[in-house]
């Protein structure tokens, strides 16, 4: 076993790791500090240009599988799997909360081959640091067709934010439209949001991870959108509210919102005969949110999609002027509306008109019908030829729109699909719509 020193540089092949398959195992003597580890995959300019290559507890593997957080303190590497765009992997430590790395006890990072043999160890402690709150511990990088490794052991007093800035360039010091600066700011925001979720709503952590996986699959890992949950409060929904099924469903949509957005909140609209907009559903208030909602807004005796859609459009776009020959409206981030109902609507013509009109706005309508429908993904239900939702099925295919801005599926029960399958369903048509509205210049 080789002992590594800070600043040393060596070929991985010289450590007996010619194929680039190995792990780095961290043993930190925290001395009361809370320390998070992350691995940043950097491009040739040493920037995190693709934030999917930041591997940490909430994004435990890179898309290619080349970097994986195998367990809390072990990163597993398969360097051959990495795309050519990734030039360096930097394993970092950052303090969460108070303290400085100068008070770190005797710690080590061990390089372990696939047979479990420790081939090298970088021993470090607070003596190497002072007031740093985040450090680049070890870097694995490409040089002349070889992978090399160096214990860097240098960091920043500014903690994780400074680290992210280091890997992402200045945050919006140039023009606000400069695209490369955005991911790093986003990454920092996402990390802090993930910490809030862990602290305030730990029951959502695995849901958020599952939502991440579906978004990655849909190619929307770094996509931003505002999420709106629109719930039917007609009387027939009673048992679903009462059983907690709506609450559970709302939590799943909140998890999606936590990946599309960094504020940890989603907007909520309720509709029956009338439309209500209660406080947003967020990480801080999600427990019993639906129960308290229904106390405040009793179920109503009618179902009018159109009115709800009108209120939602007004909320997001009433101040946005329509421009261009197609009278489109533009926004920095699109709106994803999760529209949940268990029956037909009394205002079909209005609904159709609004759906056509809103096809000129960056707003996507994902309808979910609770009941029997031909658009059910459940095998059991697909045998039924009759449907509770002929109108929603028509909306899904409605003519006269600038882009296809709606999707529909039905479920027998809101919990019919496991989380993963539900998130996949929610991303069935949306990615295509994103491409279309971007093509029309509605979103950047």
């Amino acid at each position: 076993m080789q002992t590594l020193s800070r600043g040393q540089r060596l070929k991985l092949a010289d450590l007996g790791l010619p194929n680039g398959n190995f792990s780095i195992k961290l043993e930190c003597n925290n001395a009361g500090l809370t320390i998070d580890s992350a691995c940043f995959g950097l491009d040739a300019a040493r920037k995190l240009s693709d934030e999917r290559y930041m591997t940490f507890f909430n994004q435990p593997a890179s898309p290619c599988g080349g970097v994986r957080l195998a367990d809390a303190n072990r990163f597993e590497f398969r360097l051959a799997a990495l795309p050519g765009s990734i030039h360096a992997l930097v394993l970092t430590l950052a303090i969460d909360g108070n303290g400085v790395l100068g008070s770190l006890g005797n710690s080590r990072a061990q390089i372990v081959d696939d047979a479990g043999q420790v081939v090298a160890s970088f021993d470090f402690s607070g003596a190497l640091f002072k007031d740093e709150r985040a450090v680049m511990l070890i870097e694995v990088y490409r040089k002349d067709d070889h992978w090399r490794l160096s214990p860097v052991g240098q960091g920043f007093n500014g903690g994780l934010d400074a680290l992210v800035t280091h890997f992402g360039g200045e945050v919006a010091s140039s023009a606000p439209t400069s695209a490369p600066a955005a991911p790093s700011a986003q990454t920092a925001a996402r990390v802090s949001l993930d910490k809030r979720i862990e602290k305030e709503a730990p029951h959502l952590v695995s849901l958020v991870k599952k939502a991440s996986v579906s978004l990655e699959k849909a190619g929307l890992g770094a996509h931003r959108a505002r999420v709106c949950l629109c719930l039917d409060i007609s009387g027939s929904m009673h048992s679903l509210y009462k059983s907690g099924a709506v609450q559970k469903f709302a939590e799943r949509i909140l998890a999606l919102g936590c990946r599309f957005d960094d504020d940890g909140e989603i907007d909520v609209f309720l509709f029956g005969a009338n439309v209500h907009q209660p406080d947003p559903l967020g990480i801080g208030n999600n427990r019993n949110y639906i129960e308290s909602l229904i106390k405040k807004y009793p179920l109503e005796g009618d179902t009018r999609y159109g009115r709800a859609m009108q209120a939602i459009r007004e909320y997001y776009f009433h101040k946005t002027p329509a421009t261009g020959p197609q009278q489109i409206k533009k926004a920095d981030t699109p709106v994803y509306v999760m529209f949940v109902t268990d029956g037909g609507t009394a205002d079909q013509p209005l609904t159709e008109r609004l759906l056509r009109e809103s096809s000129h706005e960056p707003i996507f309508w994902q309808f979910m019908g609770i009941g029997k429908g031909r658009k059910s993904k459940s095998k059991a239900l697909s045998f039924f030829s009759d449907s509770n939702f002929p109108f929603l099925e028509k909306l899904d295919e409605l003519s006269g729109r600038l882009v296809d801005n709606a999707a529909f599926f039905s479920v027998e029960h809101p919990e019919e699909h496991p989380d993963e399958a539900l998130f996949d369903l929610l991303m069935d048509e949306y990615p295509e719509w994103v491409k279309l509205v971007r093509g029309h210049g509605m979103i950047p």
Partner: protein, 191 residues
């Protein structure tokens, strides 16, 4: 187009720049991007005879003795040439004035206070040495030694040496344990 040298590689300066009389040896490195004590790097030059030693302490050119007694070598400290991205330190050699007994000139860089600051060359990014023809600020050769530097605190970056009637430059990139004092002693300087 300047020649990019690898460790151990050399270039014939007299062939690349036949009319050159004054050469600037530029040395550079990236400013420390991380927090902690900055990297204070010092360049020095040793005028060596055929046995690889200085003739006297006067042949050791460094920040406290910035000019050789014959005037052939000058340490310009922070004087930036303005060429390229700007060197951090430079050493100017008037080739015609270099005494005949001086066979080679070793150019080294040491990290000031490295031990106390727990620093080494592996922590310094983008260190290089380059040879520039002072006439017209034309770069002849450059050696980027980042990947060849590791846990050393003193390094010989390069050597200018005689080859018959020609001057050549070699990319050395060799570390030396212990810093400037032991390095100077190694070349026969009484420190």
């Amino acid at each position: 187009m300047a020649i990019s040298l690898q460790k151990g590689g050399n270039v014939n300066l007299s062939k690349e720049a036949p009319t050159m009389t004054k050469m600037i040896v530029g040395l550079g490195w990236d400013v420390r991007a991380t927090d902690g004590a900055g990297f204070d790097l010092d360049a020095s030059a040793f005028m060596l005879n055929a046995s690889g030693k200085v003739r006297s302490d006067a042949d050791f050119i460094f920040y406290n003795q910035p000019k050789s007694s014959d005037g052939s070598i000058t340490h310009s400290g922070d004087n930036r040439t303005g060429a390229g991205e700007g060197d951090d330190e430079s050493i100017v050699i008037e080739l015609g004035k270099v005494p005949a007994e001086v066979e080679r000139i070793a150019v080294s860089v040491t990290i000031h206070d490295a031990e106390a600051r727990k620093q080494n060359f592996g922590m310094v990014a983008k260190a290089y040495i380059r040879c520039v023809n002072a006439a017209g600020d034309v770069e002849i050769a450059k050696y980027d030694l980042s990947e060849d530097a590791s846990v050393e605190t003193a390094m010989i970056f390069g050597e200018i040496y005689r080859n018959g009637a020609d001057w050549k430059f070699k990319a050395v990139g060799q570390g030396f344990q212990g810093g400037l004092g032991p390095l100077a002693k190694n070349f026969g300087v009484n420190v």
